[in-house]
Amino acid sequence: MADLRCTIAGIESINPFWLASAPPTDKYYNVVRAFEAGWGGVVWKTLGVDPPVVNVSSRYGVHHDSGRGVIGINNIELISDRPLETNLQEIEACRKEWPDRIIIGSMMAEIDEQAWKELAIKIANSGVHGIELNLGCPHGMCERGMGSAIGQVPEMVEQTTRWVREAVDIPVFTKLTPNITNILWPAEAAKQGGAHAVSLINTVNSIVSVDLDAMAPTPVVGDKGTHGGYCGSAVKPIALNMVAEIARAQETQGLEISAIGGIETWKDAAEFIALGASALQVCTAAMLYGFRIVDDMIDGLSAFMDQKGYRSIEDFRGMAVKNTVDWNELDMNFDTKALIDPETCIECGRCHIACEDTSHQAIEFKIAEDGKRRFTVIDEDCVGCNLCAHVCPVPDCIEMVPVKNDKPYVTWPEHPLNPLKAAQ
């Protein structure tokens, strides 16, 4: 069985699966249940300066698919609404009772040095392994000058990170908001400020749906709603890209990554690790299914690693980074064509209509002599876009087959049709 231990910011964890700072890590009771279930660590729900915030009733909105599967949820809950001292005592108790599990203290404050430093010291004194700066919350707290209001200004990211580094001698994680133009700017700022690691992504600013009876965004609080933080599997692609951007940029080299964003399965976890993450944080999946989902995350990741021959997380961490490049570095001579297997085709016609109406009219539809509906790719017209393979309901029925054209690897900057190249 593969070794799932991981190290991030010098902190050693029994596995890479931590619960993110959010409702599941709100208090002693939940955290103990999470540790009992097998989670390697938790980032405690964000603590602020007393007096604690007051939350509204009605806090989550949902983006369902038509079968009531949850694509994503958003929330308008604020940070911990319990007294700081209560939280700190519970953190201390958990640390004592679960010495092999990681607890990170998440915090936020207004942009005031004393406030940040005093709070950081109090939290550090509770025995946490590290401190995470919540610079991402995109609802409510940002209206008070905290959360994403700080995270969206790289100078403030750097400043707050530095304040916390100066105040405490435990590892510092800066949690980034995705609600920015370029994730590298705040990541670089965090690095400048001395962060040991960045945690990303925080939730994506969103209106998840509109209640067409109330004519208000959901969740509706009385008769009005507000924008909230979107999370769940829907945001995974956004998170993967932002993690990859940081992992492969020169400016952020060496910055460790605690990846967050729609991780529901071992496979999601492996993908983030392949893009360079040292540890992982999960929230929505636990909120949807309970803490037990960590079982298969552990088992599945371990089985995957055994199958591939990876003995430790480090064996494959970041392996996909070198293959994640700018568009300009892609091979213009690579060519692939769809191939439909008539044996497994169930004749639904989805590939045909997708290609016919929205792509390159490259799938011919004919009724064969035996009465079967036959869908055939016209190679000359197929550009290898993959759309047919994606809409096909049968796994592996449509294969994308690379064309052996023996052409050299040519990038766009080198390509003869590139007008800039011609001008040279």
């Binding site: 009531r68 639904c348 016609g349």
Partner: protein, 449 residues
């Protein structure tokens, strides 16, 4: 012949509650959770095979997509725009040989989408919730059309004619509308008086008048109708039943399966239909299965369905035959009726075993007897030709053109009474709809009549 069922002392058969339960919906309707799950199974195929397989060409992928998006009444309108009796067809169609057989999910060795149940979900929803009829009438054309027969073909034709702006008078031989929907389908397929509720719904469009107990040949003739109307649609179904051609075929206890089913369908309290102990049903179609299953449900101890050929030759679908067996009906194949035993009442029937020799069905000479106090004949029906004089007949049925026109100008026909009639409600509905458009064209002078 009802008294034929009462010749024995009362059976300690099922109670009224038990009977009501056993005649409840054969397929329970989907609730909204199941409907969404069933709809999710649909792939929204392009140019879908299920549409081709539906005689009325309902746009099935679209209506299922509409269920998925929560537009359930829109789904119902999609169905009803092609098939105004979509509610009955959802209950009675042999979907296993129509839309659901064509479902591409079958190719993946999966279960097909439950199209029939989804159609019922949508149409029931609209009928329960709609505040107005989903279709409106075109401007009044001033034309008046006679429709003979208030069965699926006639009512479908009437509804479409009304939509097209014509006025319609329907002449119905029986005291109630609906034809086989009301009198002929198995009770467990049409619970809660659905046939009448559907007719009420259909008539909401307006412009349709139904006159009851008006049968062709009884103070009503095609010539009179032609005189007083601009066009005629004949949807009379098949009024006569085939005979076994045996002695004693008229003794008490031997009756047509369709009469038995009609009596069952019209009974408010099925305990009054105390059935026989030993029932024989003769025939291989869905009517035979309906009669056999319902006999069993009424409490008969032994029900034997006898068919002269092998199972492959039965016109009942494999699903229906299996249903009969699951209900405890004994299916005996390769046997033909030889004689009826009994004097004042049937006591048994003698059958001769059959086989195929040189491509022909022949008796083997070997016989056996099955005791019976009720024999139900389900060996097919025939068109009653007596009131249809002047109309061209082909193969015992009315001959019509591709536009449902008979040889008499202005007289159209469809449903079971025409040459290509397929003995399916859904086909009758389609015939009526297409004939309505043909009549509309005829009245506008752009089609032959």
């Amino acid at each position: 012949m009802a008294d034929g069922l009462n010749h024995r002392p009362s059976l300690s058969g099922p109670s009224k509650d038990e009977l009501d339960a056993s005649f409840d919906d054969l397929h329970k309707p989907l609730n909204s959770i199941k409907a969404i799950a069933a709809a999710e199974h649909c792939l929204y195929c392009y140019d879908a095979p299920c549409i081709q397989a539906c005689p009325t060409s309902i746009d099935i992928p679209t209506f299922i997509h509409q269920i998925r998006t929560g537009n359930v009444d829109g789904a119902a309108r999609t169905i009803l725009s092609e098939n105004i009796m979509g509610g009955t067809c959802a209950r009675a169609c042999p979907t296993e040989v129509l839309c659901e057989e064509a479902c591409v999910r079958n190719h993946g060795e999966e279960d097909p989408v439950e199209i029939g149940l989804l159609q019922r979900f949508a149409t029931d929803h609209l009928m329960a919730n709609a505040t107005s009829h989903p279709f409106s009438r075109a401007a009044n054309t001033g034309k008046h059309i006679a429709v003979v027969g208030a069965g699926p073909a006639g009512l479908s034709c009437a509804h479409r004619l009304a939509m097209l702006g014509h006025s319609v008078t329907v002449y119905e031989a029986k005291p109630k509308p609906g034809g086989l929907n009301e009198y002929g389908l198995a009770a467990y397929k049409m619970v809660d008086n659905f046939a009448q509720r559907e007719v009420d719904f259909l008539l909401e469009i307006g412009g349709i008048e139904i006159l009851y107990e008006k049968a062709l040949g009884r103070k009503l003739s095609l010539a009179d109708l032609k005189e007083s109307h601009d066009a005629i649609f004949v949807g009379v179904g098949l009024g006569n039943t085939n005979k076994l051609g045996l002695d004693k075929e008229d003794i008490p206890g031997v009756e047509d399966a369709i009469d038995f089913i009609e009596r069952l369908r019209q009974a408010d309290d099925k305990t009054t239909l105390q059935t026989a102990r030993d029932v024989i049903v003769i025939g291989g179609g869905n009517t035979a299965v309906d009669a056999a299953v319902q006999s069993k449900k009424l409490g008969a101890e032994n029900v034997t369905l006898v068919y002269r050929r092998g199972e492959d030759a039965m016109s009942a679908t494999a699903y229906e035959i299996d249903l009969a067996r699951r209900c405890g009906v004994t299916v005996r194949l390769w046997s033909k009726p030889q004689s009826i035993k009994g004097d004042t009442h049937v006591k048994a029937m003698k059958f001769e075993r059959t086989r195929i020799m040189n491509g022909k069905l022949v008796g083997t000479g070997e016989t056996y007897k099955i005791p019976a106090d009720l024999v139900l004949k389900a060996i097919g029906q025939q068109l009653n030709l007596s009131a249809l004089k002047g109309l061209e007949i082909a193969g015992g049925k009315l001959a019509v053109s591709s536009t449902f026109a008979t040889n008499v100008s202005g007289v159209f026909a469809g449903g079971d009474c025409i040459k290509n009639g397929e003995d399916l409600t859904v086909q009758a509905v389609e015939d009526g709809k297409q004939a309505a458009h043909a009549i509309d064209g005829y009245l506008k002078g752009d089609a032959d009549g």
